[in-house]
């Protein structure tokens, strides 16, 4: 009678590619260029081409917006609650010798969240969903030749997740509210990269970032009618979740002295995510297992940097990000869709060793109308899934992102 029907936890939309203002300004087409300390994230092999010691500190400010219209055939509109996310980034690199360079960073590779009103039509599917991962990568780069380098690295990650949703108390009056919270204080991943500059104008890079397996431990709490407290799930929970591996191949080409073009192909191994499962320690409560059936996906990215002079350059980028989830599994906890991103930015090297970079990215999701949803948005009993009403409707999403980084280098020109 009572059960929790939580929904998706993360998706393509939870991968963040905003690690540094410059990569963001270039639409994320950066793997083949990596000419600042954010190479620690994008492609560690690029560190061999950075001289001296470099620091880069900044943050992105992300404002996502989503509306849902439905449930079909109705077209009533519900808007997601506005939220702003501020994932920071910090990278440092140091060239040890002619061959070796090391780099360290802090960034948020997966994150974001969605929040809907507690009385909205999809409240039994999602009210609040939030995931934050922090990753601290450490990378060593080795220059095999003057124009060819490779890198390997490891990363330590920690994460926390919150899922809250309403739960119908049918046939009893009112809704209960379920809150799941968990964290994993240590998860590990690894990465590798390669960078080759065959000509003065051309650079080619590739990088690999591994899957990271998180084992969340946490608690479930439920606010509901006192009389139903024995039925409402609570207590310790555990959940496993893997963030997908990424393979990214990029190309940079200096068309003329003032103009550098770049392109990236990013492959994301989302097929690792086939179900969302939450286990309750207390056997009185049914464990949750919901099929997600994600598919591997990709993004294609293009960027351009125009150097006005030694101090200023302008950035522009565009990308297409293919949704990893089939429409029937799309849930309001993560309203995924194919996305187009348009970015612009300015890089200002104010002093010889200090600069500021700012960029803006607008992400527009293609309108997604789901007609064969498998998400059930009303209370139902096990076995009655076929006749239960499904969450069909139309999602529209867009996001505004602003990123600001400062960078500082020293020992410039020492060699």
């Amino acid at each position: 009678m009572l059960g929790i029907f939580p929904s998706i936890l993360l998706a393509g939309g939870f991968q963040l590619n905003e690690h540094g203002s410059k990569p963001m300004g270039l639409g994320g087409a950066f793997t083949g260029i990596v000419n600042d300390a954010s190479a620690v994230y994008w492609n560690g092999a690029g560190l061999s081409f950075l001289e001296g010691t470099n620091f880069l500190l900044g943050t992105a400010i992300i404002g996502p917006n989503t509306s849902f219209r439905g449930v079909a055939p109705e077209i009533d509109k519900s808007n997601m609650v506005s939220q702003v996310f501020v994932p920071p980034h910090f990278f440092a690199s140091h060239k040890i010798s002619k061959e070796f360079a090391v780099g360290l960073g802090v960034s948020v590779p997966f994150g974001l969240g969605t929040k809907w009103e507690t009385d909205w039509i999809g409240r039994y599917l999602a009210v609040e969903t939030e995931l934050q991962t922090f990753s601290i990568p450490l990378v060593v780069s080795y220059a095999i030749m003057e124009n060819l380098s490779i890198s390997v690295g490891g990363s330590y990650s920690f994460a926390n997740v919150t899922i809250a949703q309403a739960n119908s108390q049918t046939p009893f009056v009112g809704d209960a509210f379920i809150h799941l919270e968990g964290d994993d204080k240590s998860a590990f991943g690894y990465n590798a990269g390669i960078m080759w500059k065959p000509t003065k104008e051309t650079s080619i890079g590739a990088s690999f970032r591994s899957e990271v397996k998180y084992s969340f431990e946490g608690t479930a709490t439920t606010e509901g009618a006192e009389q139903l407290s024995a039925l409402l799930p609570s207590g310790n929970i555990s959940a496993d979740l893997s963030t997908p591996m990424n393979i990214q191949v990029g190309l940079g080409y200096r068309v003329i002295e003032q103009l550098q073009l770049s392109a990236d192909f990013q492959w994301v191994g989302w097929s690792s995510y086939d179900k969302l499962a939450v286990d309750f320690e207390d056997e009185a409560y049914d464990d949750i297992s919901r099929p997600r059936d994600y598919e591997d996906t990709y993004a294609i990215r293009f960027g351009a940097e125009y150097f006005l002079n030694n101090q200023f350059s302008f950035l522009g980028g565009i990308y297409f990000d293919k949704m990893p989830v089939k429409p029937e599994y799309v849930s309001p906890s993560l309203p995924d869709a194919d996305r187009l991103g348009f970015s612009i930015g300015v890089d200002a090297k104010i002093f010889e060793n200090f600069g500021v970079c700012g960029s803006y990215l607008f992400i527009r999701s293609s309108e997604l109308t789901v007609t064969n949803s498998r998400e059930i948005y009303t209370p139902y009993e096990e076995g009655n899934e076929d006749s239960a009403p499904k969450f069909n409707g139309t999602y529209n999403s867009y996001a505004n992102l602003v990123s600001l980084s400062v960078y500082y280098s020293f020992n410039i020109g020492k060699e």
């Binding site: 009678m1 917006n65 509306s67 219209r69 055939p73 109705e74 077209i75 119908s168 108390q169 049918t170 046939p171 009893f172 009056v173 009112g174 009618a225 006192e226 009389q227 139903l228 024995a230 039925l231 006005l308 200023f312 302008f314 348009f342 612009i344 930015g345 300015v346 200002a348 700012g358 803006y360 607008f362 527009r364 309108e367 109308t369 059930i376 009303t378 209370p379 139902y380 009993e381 009655n384 899934e385 006749s387 239960a388 009403p389 139309t394 529209n396 867009y398 505004n400 602003v402």
Partner: protein, 472 residues
């Protein structure tokens, strides 16, 4: 420096440009509903508590806004005013105080609070003329609390002991249900009446007069339909359900059966109008006799030799009863007549219901009006396993069956959704309309949690007297 400013300006401009991009394609609004030849422009309901949306023994706003008439009116976007009573409504609302489903224990209490009418000053007759406690003849005759049928019966049959105030609240001195319906020049009327004319007999264990099908029911029903036909209204009638499908009659008996079986007692002994009856464990469990929900608290006293049933409830011990014998197990101390519907009474109920429904069907056929077969709907729900609609299983199980509220008689909000859908299906068929059905799963749960002890054996613990006034 100028260049920096220039760059900032362009940047700001572009940010604003993209931020404004909140466009999307227009979605096609759902096609307007095809009403066929049905005309909802002046929509009126005549009925009893089922039309008024009584639940858990009270009529209250959070139920009334999902009355079957209101659900239909909202679907077809027509005016539908009702006599609304703020929560907890007209009084004695049953609420769940505690619930232990693992052990099958539920405790139900009556809410002592009352709500108040919120729109007594509505300047026209209500569209929903349903009145809790209305009998068929009340539609034509009752003008107020004092002229309703039950107020003019001799004690103890005058059900409310006081005049039924809901006649005043709905009619407001403006006329009878019939007159107020006619005054609205209705285009479409739902008519679901006559339930009380037999169920008052059934819910009181056979101790209540029955409206005679031929001499009373048929002529009154005929008059009502003549009047409605004369004003040109389309009339959609609903028939009378089988009492055996209602938790009020199905819950306690099987519980007592289990209890007796566990204690190796072959059966119980009960008082009938003409003498003493006996029910075996099998009779109780197979519903060959129907122990009423009003007997739930007495069920725990079966076998008692202290006369507790009478002393606890302040009931004088009847002259033929010797309380030194085990309560409900001996002919000297039988289970009270008003708490059981014996096989003779059950067959009377069956015959009367069949006669009423025969009259309703014949009238409908003669006038080309539609009949909603609620009788069949509740039969299906009463089958083992019930029916599944929109993911929810509806059965006649008390509390967990999703269909019936805590009084065991009136539907839940989702149950009223099923009733509304039955009306819509009939209207669609009769008038060539294609009104979409209501998604009943999207209607809220409505069993109020406050404060039933569903004792062991699945017998709820309802305070003695709590359901004495149960009536449609």
């Amino acid at each position: 420096m100028r260049k920096i400013l220039f760059a900032c300006l362009i940047f700001t401009g572009l940010v604003l440009f993209f931020s404004a991009c909140e466009d999307y394609n227009d979605l096609t609004a759902p096609a307007p509903i095809d009403f066929g030849s049905a005309d909802f422009s002046r929509f009126v309901s005549i009925g009893n508590s089922l039309t008024m949306a009584e639940q858990s023994q009270s009529v209250f706003e959070s139920s009334q806004k999902y009355s079957f008439g209101k659900l239909i009116a909202d679907l077809v976007s027509t005016t539908y005013e009702q006599a609304i009573f703020s929560d907890p409504g007209t009084g004695d609302r049953l609420e769940i105080k505690s619930l232990d489903l693992a052990n099958g224990v539920v405790e139900i209490v009556e809410n002592p609070e009352q709500g108040s009418p919120t729109n007594l000053n509505y300047p026209a007759p209500y569209n929903n003329l349903g009145i809790k406690g209305a009998f068929l003849k009340d539609v034509l005759n009752a003008r107020d609390a004092t002229t309703c049928y039950t107020n003019n019966l001799p004690p103890p049959l005058n059900i409310y002991n006081t005049p039924n105030p809901l006649f005043d609240a709905v009619l407001r001195g403006l006329g009878t249900q019939m007159e107020l319906a006619m005054a609205q020049q209705p285009t479409l009327v739902t008519l679901w009446i006559g339930n009380n004319d037999i169920l008052a007999f059934a819910t009181r264990g056979g101790l209540f007069p029955i409206t005679d099908p031929q001499t009373s029911f048929a002529p009154d029903y005929n008059t009502i339909l003549n009047n409605l036909e004369n004003v040109g209204a389309q009339v959609v009638m609903a028939n009378i359900p089988d009492v055996k499908n209602i938790p009020f009659f199905k819950t306690v008996g099987p519980g007592i059966g289990l209890k007796l079986q566990e204690n190796q007692i072959p059966g119980m002994v009960y008082q009938t109008t003409s003498g003493i009856g006996q029910a075996t464990v099998n009779d109780l469990c197979s519903l060959n006799v129907l122990v009423l929900l009003t007997g739930s608290s007495a069920a725990s006293l079966i076998g008692d030799v202290t006369g507790a049933y009478y002393s606890l409830n302040g009931i004088p011990v009847p002259p033929n009863v010797n309380t030194a014998y085990p309560f409900g197990l001996a002919a000297e101390n039988p289970w009270p007549n008003n708490l059981i519907l014996d096989p003779t009474e059950m067959s009377i109920v069956d015959q009367i219901v069949a006669a009423y429904n025969g009259i309703i069907n014949a009238e409908a056929t003669a006038r080309n009006f539609a009949v909603v077969d609620i009788h069949e709907l509740l039969n299906q729900i009463g089958e083992p396993g019930g029916i599944v609609v929109d993911g929810i299983t509806f059965s006649s199980e008390f509390i967990l069956g999703n269909t019936y509220s805590l009084d065991g008689v009136h539907p839940t909000t989702q149950g009223y959704g099923l009733v509304a859908n039955a009306f819509i299906e009939t209207i669609n068929e009769k008038y060539g309309a294609s009104i979409p059905l209501i998604n009943v799963a999207s209607l809220p749960g409505s069993l109020i949690l406050e404060g039933v002890s569903m004792g062991k054996y699945g017998i709820p613990n309802i305070p003695h007297g709590a359901l004495d006034n149960v009536i449609f």
